[in-house]
């Protein structure tokens, strides 16, 4: 039994702990759970891939509640009188629509409208100045920081940009029981927060930014706290909450059809615009941002390929990179694929020609030289909570 990499992603999943390079970044909680988890390299970070089993952790999040360390996510803070203008010109959504304590999902695009990364933008409450925090993906924080600084200087805007990724830990508490356990752990009532809203709250004396957001399709919260206090916050969820790794984070988000940066889109390996990636709703063409003109034209003309969900109708598992075939011709490829723990079926995400993207369309996925029958289905694959 030798590991045959289906994707770079899965290949790294089996790297034994001792093979981990010293060069990788480690989350502040690394030593706290190192003995209990299996690790993987992800976005230049050594992160837990599973504690117990992916299947058990997946079920905990769907049925009760789990906690993830997602400190590999970046944190960039932007303040100053031109902070709104800078954010507006570098993200696809309308930042001016935010009020303090709100968040929005947005794309970072280049001049051609290609997605460079996706992010959540928060407006933080601040009486002195306008303050934003945005969360680029693992390994994208330095490029995002440089992009912001370079454009600020080019456009001569008054804004301070700080990469605070190393200063913050981020925990995601996700699942139907998340409101109960997060409310019990915080000194303020977090249950009135609606989806996407956030507030400051103390957790065992640690000032944290608690946001009703997540990447699992379940109700839940993402909690930002100072790296030095991460263990206190992590401990607040010990016992009641199942520790979860990136393995089930991936199966959970795939069941929802959520994009994974660097896999379902990537400026080099998988260049996609927001319309073909199914996130055109994050693009506000009435705002002026890098990529806006190119996207206006793409929106006008329509896209030729579309991001879809597929279910295999034969035994097998579609994985990243597998070809999608119709009438003997390669028409697209899988960008993410796994066995859905919830459905017990092989599910996949990928791009196909728009005229083959309707649910019910029958195609095939080529798994190890064999065509497996597949069908386009609407996402999420599971019932949306």
């Amino acid at each position: 039994m030798t590991l045959l990499a289906a994707t770079e992603h899965t290949k790294t999943f089996l790297v034994p702990n001792q093979a981990i390079s010293m060069a990788h970044r480690k989350p502040p909680l690394y030593d706290v759970y190192a003995a209990d988890a299996t690790f993987t390299e992800f976005g230049g970070w050594d992160m837990p891939v599973e504690f117990d089993s992916i299947r058990a952790e997946h079920a905990a999040v769907r049925e009760s509640v789990g906690v993830f360390d997602v400190s590999h996510m970046g944190e960039i803070v932007v303040t100053g009188s031109d902070a709104t203008a800078l954010m507006q010109r570098l993200t696809s959504n309308d930042v001016s629509a935010l009020a303090p304590g709100d968040s929005q999902y947005a794309m970072l695009t280049d001049e051609s409208g290609t997605i460079v990364d996706d992010t959540i933008v928060y407006q933080l409450p601040d009486e002195e100045t306008t303050r934003y925090l945005f969360v680029p993906n693992a390994g994208h924080d330095e490029e995002a920081y440089r992009r912001w600084v370079d454009h600020r200087d080019e456009w001569d805007l008054d804004a301070e940009v700080r990469n605070e990724t190393d200063a913050w830990a981020m925990l995601a508490v996700q699942g139907p029981d998340a409101p109960d356990v997060v409310d019990a752990a915080t000194d303020v009532d977090v249950t009135p927060l609606s989806w996407g809203e956030a507030t400051y709250a103390d957790i065992d004396g640690v000032r944290s930014w608690v946001s009703r957001t997540g990447y699992t399709g379940e109700d839940g919260f993402e909690i930002l706290c100072p790296s030095d206090d991460a263990e206190t916050v992590w401990s607040a969820f010990e016992g009641d909450v199942t520790p979860c790794g990136l393995g089930c984070r991936d199966t959970l988000r795939t069941e929802m059809g959520f994009l994974l940066s660097g896999q379902d889109f990537d400026p080099v390996e998988e260049p996609r615009n927001p319309y073909e990636a199914g996130v055109g709703w994050t693009v506000d063409l009435d705002t002026d941002f890098v990529g806006r003109d190119a996207l206006a034209e793409i929106e006008r003309e329509g896209v030729t390929e579309t991001f879809v969900g597929l279910i295999l109708r034969e035994r097998g598992i579609a994985r990243h990179g597998h070809e999608i075939v119709a009438d003997g011709e390669v028409v697209g490829h899988v960008t993410s694929g796994t066995m859905s723990p919830t459905l017990g079926e092989a599910i996949a995400l990928g791009y196909v020609p728009t005229d083959l993207a309707d649910p019910g369309t029958e195609l095939s996925v080529v798994v190890r030289d064999q065509e497996k029958r597949a069908e386009i289905v609407s996402t999420p694959f599971i019932e949306d909570n």
């Binding site: 039994m1 030798t2 045959l4 299996t38 992916i54 598992i317 723990p341 190890r368």
Partner: protein, 126 residues
Amino acid sequence: MFETPEDRKYQESHEYATTDDETVTIGITDFAQDELGDVVFVELPEVGDDISQGEEFGVVESIKAVSDLYAPISGTVTEVNEELFDRPELVNEDPYGEGWMLKVDRGDDADFDALLSADEYREQTE
């Protein structure tokens, strides 16, 4: 930490082979199933197919990984554990029992001599 029963021989690539007089039973080790995590799919040859020592005979997939399977001995497949098609998790739950993969006609004794003893395999996984 992992079970490595004495009643069988092992291959460096983590397959085992155990025999009575007639047939050889093949599967993957306890160490291997733990490394893979939740097994969700196996692809195995059919009855009558020949397998050759050291050559690929199938594939095992967990949620997080895809691995080739290598034949620990040569022979002709006489039985396939089709139960694994519906319950691949048996590989995790009982790798040396219900999670077996193939039964093959006993090949040369020399095939077995090339394999590792339980002690030798245990050393490799420590």
